[in-house]
Symmetry: C2
Subunit: 197 residues, 2 copies
């Protein structure tokens, strides 16, 4: 039985809800926003900054990124984004050592790549399903849903590449990749639970 | 219930045997070498040439590739490799139209990408498991197993890119990707059958 499940996901694929349902089904602890808050507490960064950092590593026009990476905003010579990544790594390793859990996002698949008893999952979906989902969840915005998704994808890809050297969404980096648009969320939960056994 | 399953796989991942077991479990027709032979009959190519063509699109040192792609060896202005691909495409579409089946390899995932009731599966495994498997199956050879695998990967990648424009092994191209090294072949069979329902 795999006791640690990491879930990487495309924005709008329902990966967060699927991870939560898997944790509930298996009686595992669940970490996502809570993880972010733990990092925040230790590092002194605001939860908002931490949540955004996973997205903005590539956003060259982002003031947040500019501030975070500017040399004058380093601590002991390490950039704020890098410091945050180091804190995240420590926390994810501690969580893994404390027993069974589901961890969503934050490069947990890479950080725990050498751990035994890990199942690494990637959840994706076609653009249409994802667009429908984010509009249902966050409402219409000025920029079309598809454009927002493409930007998010690009940011996650660059963040992941930057910290892991890997290609985001490459099947070989995961044990199980699921198309939630075709399979549906409930089926994804069942398949992840079955793959853990 | 998905009635058509395409299986793309890394060499040595056990994808062929898994596909065969899924077909047996679900009572679906199974196509792999048989498909190759059907293509051969129609096109007049030898089965050996066809089996190799999926591998040698990128092998610049291969005499076979040199011959197949040389301009003087075209038929009505189409290269032999392209003609073969066109024949394969027709046969795969016919098979799909005739009802439930499992098709391994030959870009079937791409050829049937617009078909409803299709489940597109990719099977991969870590280098160690794959090397063990090919040595068990084909014995030791002069070149180390890992080197042979890397070359095969490279060839499949280039062939796939050439005919589909897609990146081989990119999770987003499939509905279900499985690491047979971690999950084991039997579990993979179960998961594919469960994903079909």
């Amino acid at each position: 039985m795999k006791s640690i499940i990491t879930i990487s996901r495309e924005f709008g694929s329902g990966g967060h809800s699927i991870g939560e349902a898997v944790a509930k089904k298996l009686g595992y602890r669940f970490f996502d926003r809570e993880l972010v808050n733990q990092v925040a507490e230790r590092s002194g960064f605001s939860p908002e900054f931490i949540e955004e950092s996973g997205e903005y590593a590539s956003a060259k026009n982002s003031l947040l990124f500019a501030i975070a990476t500017a040399n004058q905003y380093t601590m002991n010579g390490i950039s704020m984004l890098d410091k945050l990544y180091i804190e995240q790594t420590k926390i994810i390793e501690e969580i893994a050592q404390e027993g069974s859990c589901v961890i969503v996002g934050r490069c947990a698949d890479y950080i725990l790549r050498e751990y035994r008893d890990c199942l690494h999952v990637f959840i994706h979906a076609d653009m249409k399903s994802r667009a429908k989902r984010i509009v249902e969840r966050f409402g219409e915005q000025e920029r079309p849903a598809e454009k927002r998704l493409n930007e998010k994808d690009q940011r996650r890809k660059v963040y992941y590449k930057n910290y892991t050297g890997r290609t985001w969404g490459q099947a070989q980096n995961y044990d199980l990749c699921l198309n939630s648009g075709v399979l549906g969320s409930e089926r994804c939960v069942e398949l992840i639970a079955a793959a853990c056994k």
